[in-house]
């Protein structure tokens, strides 16, 4: 199990990750979702000690990354598909990491086969497409046969066939009991791959749960337009309805969860708040996701 515990990181005055807590369970593929700049990559970098968190910690079965003796044997990480020396071949790249994972050239060949790069093993990475680089990143992550996998935008650059292949592979890895966390800025991209989702916006947790729960919990998100958005939020709070995190304010529109559009309309009118527009979001997961994470492009 991966536990993110009150993680915080700021860059100057900007809170990239703001008191973020969630858990990732084994045997499942968990989608780590949020718009660009939501703090996904910062979280993954802080989890793996590339950057130093200001507060909080991330543990893998109770151990921080830096406490792991041979981290590649426990946590497989694929962060950026550009971290290759263009002059090295695919197998040279893996061989340079192999001593850290405690494996030899046979394991390198095995993982290259696993990601479909056996033909390109002796080719220089400089000539690789984005999709091939992504596959090589994944091969490096799998090198030490780790029980945890952290993959940043793993389907980026893959063609539809590649995405289907990736989906199957991640499924198999999770079925073997591994803990798989994949980030994406598009829910639709990973919707068919993930069992669970962790959604963040502006560095804060917005939602954690299964896809089904996401659909159910947000089926009734209602967007309210009013010249007094704070009063609308106050009404929602009094009635115990849910609101997106503080960060996700955007002008006159307020998103309210856990109520039907009629209930919301009645409550707002009763409170004497000017109501200028009201609509319920569709059950389309992607627009739910958008409305939760900022409302950009959501239903008007």
């Amino acid at each position: 199990m991966i536990e993110v515990d009150h993680l915080a990181k700021r860059y100057g005055s900007q809170r990239a990750v703001d008191d973020l807590s969630f858990v990732v369970r084994p045997g499942k593929v968990t989608g780590f979702l949020g718009p660009n700049g939501a703090g996904k990559t910062t979280t993954l970098r802080a989890a793996t000690d590339l950057i130093r968190a200001d507060k909080g910690r991330v543990t893998f079965d109770g151990q921080a990354y830096r406490e792991l003796l041979q981290p590649m044997r426990h946590v497989g990480v694929a962060l950026e598909p550009t971290a290759f020396h263009p002059g090295r071949t695919a197998s040279d790249h893996l061989m340079m990491l192999a001593p850290y994972a405690g494996v030899d050239h046979r394991r390198c060949a095995t993982v290259l086969g696993l990601v479909g790069l056996e033909e390109a093993a002796g080719k220089r990475v400089g000539g690789f497409s984005l999709g091939m680089r992504g596959r090589l990143s994944l091969a490096a992550a799998l090198l030490g046969n780790p029980e945890f996998l952290l993959l940043d935008e793993p389907v980026n650059g893959l063609d539809p066939e590649g995405i289907r292949w990736m989906r199957q592979l991640l499924r198999e890895l999770a079925d073997e009991g591994r803990t798989v966390l994949i980030s994406s800025h598009l829910l639709s991209e990973v919707e068919q791959t993930v069992d669970e989702v962790v959604i963040i916006a502006q560095g804060r947790l917005v939602f954690q749960g299964s896809l089904a729960a996401l659909e159910a919990s947000t089926a009734a998100w209602v967007s309210v337009e009013s010249s007094e958005p704070e009063a609308v939020r106050e009404v929602a709070r009094r009635r115990g309805w849910s609101l997106p995190p503080d960060g996700a304010h955007h002008g006159r529109t307020v998103w309210i969860g856990g109520a039907t559009s009629t209930e919301v309309a009645v409550a707002i009118v009763q409170a004497g708040i000017p109501l200028e527009g009201l609509s319920s979001s569709s059950s389309d997961l992607e627009s739910i996701f958008l409305s939760m994470t900022a409302g950009q492009g959501g239903i008007r």
Partner: protein, 268 residues
């Protein structure tokens, strides 16, 4: 630590930079030692005493004039990791950064040794051919020749370690190349000639890395000859042992500064 060392060794030998620089270095050493040996042999024709006195200088030319090459090889081995961002998988594989950095510094020794041997062999070949063409005895089997060659290998190896330290400190590939070229090819030669012209400052010049390198490779370099003839002053020079210590100190200081600069820095 062994894993880190093996990894560093593989990183080094799986890129082309090292042998491109090595071939450039060998060509350069071959040409300058051949040219200087030939001119020298021609100039002192028949004076066997002068030949045997200055032969070590010719065979040590690489260490006194060409140390920029091993320094660059060492520096680029580090900055290339940042340029191509392979530092990310490296730190992911070994989050204890001191292990990675120590391995880089240690791994530079055998790699630097390979380059140092190649460079010194170039000087021996170039120098011997040049002396022979000029009608002087190459003296390849003389003990002083072997001593000069051994010390040249030592000095050039140390330069690659200094390069690694410098690379850790500067990080920027372009930055480190410009720094190394500007310092070794312009600032230091001018400063050494300038400072050694005055008795009050000649004591400083001998602690320059290039001067220490000269001291290691025989203490009879172009610069010491220049200052002797130019100012009629006995230029002070370090002993071989002191030169080794000064070069090692530069390597350690740069590596420590680089270590302090990198150990806690976010890799964004």
């Amino acid at each position: 630590m062994i894993a880190a060392l093996v990894s560093e060794y593989r990183k080094f030998f799986t890129t082309r930079m090292w042998w491109i620089l090595m071939i450039c270095m060998m060509a350069y050493f071959l040409v300058i030692s051949l040219a200087m040996a030939w001119v020298f042999a021609y100039a002192v024709s028949g004076d066997d005493g002068a030949v045997s006195q200055y032969r070590p200088m010719i065979y040590g030319l690489g260490a006194s004039m060409g140390y920029v090459f091993p320094a660059l090889v060492g520096a680029v081995a580090v900055t290339g990791e940042y340029r191509h961002r392979t530092i990310v998988p490296t730190y992911l594989a070994e989050p204890r950064r001191w292990v990675v950095m120590t391995a880089k510094a240690l791994a530079a020794i055998p790699m630097g040794f390979v380059i140092a041997v190649a460079g010194t062999v170039s000087c021996l070949v170039g120098g011997a051919v040049g002396l022979h063409l000029g009608g002087a005895d190459p003296g390849l089997w003389a003990s002083q020749t072997w001593k000069a060659a051994g010390l040249s290998i030592l000095a050039l190896t140390m330069w690659s370690v200094i390069g690694v330290g410098l690379g850790m400190l500067v990080i920027s590939q372009v930055g480190v190349i410009i720094t190394v070229l500007a310092f070794t090819q312009l600032v230091e030669p001018l400063a050494r000639v300038g400072l050694s012209a005055f008795p009050s400052t000649s004591g400083i010049a001998k602690f320059f890395p290039g001067a220490a390198s000269d001291a290691v490779s025989g203490g009879t370099s172009i610069y010491s000859q220049l200052s002797v003839n130019g100012s009629m002053m006995q230029a002070s020079s370090l002993s071989v042992g002191q030169g080794v210590l000064v070069l090692a100190a530069y390597g350690v200081v740069f590596a420590l500064l680089g270590y302090v600069a990198r150990i806690r820095r976010d890799v964004a």
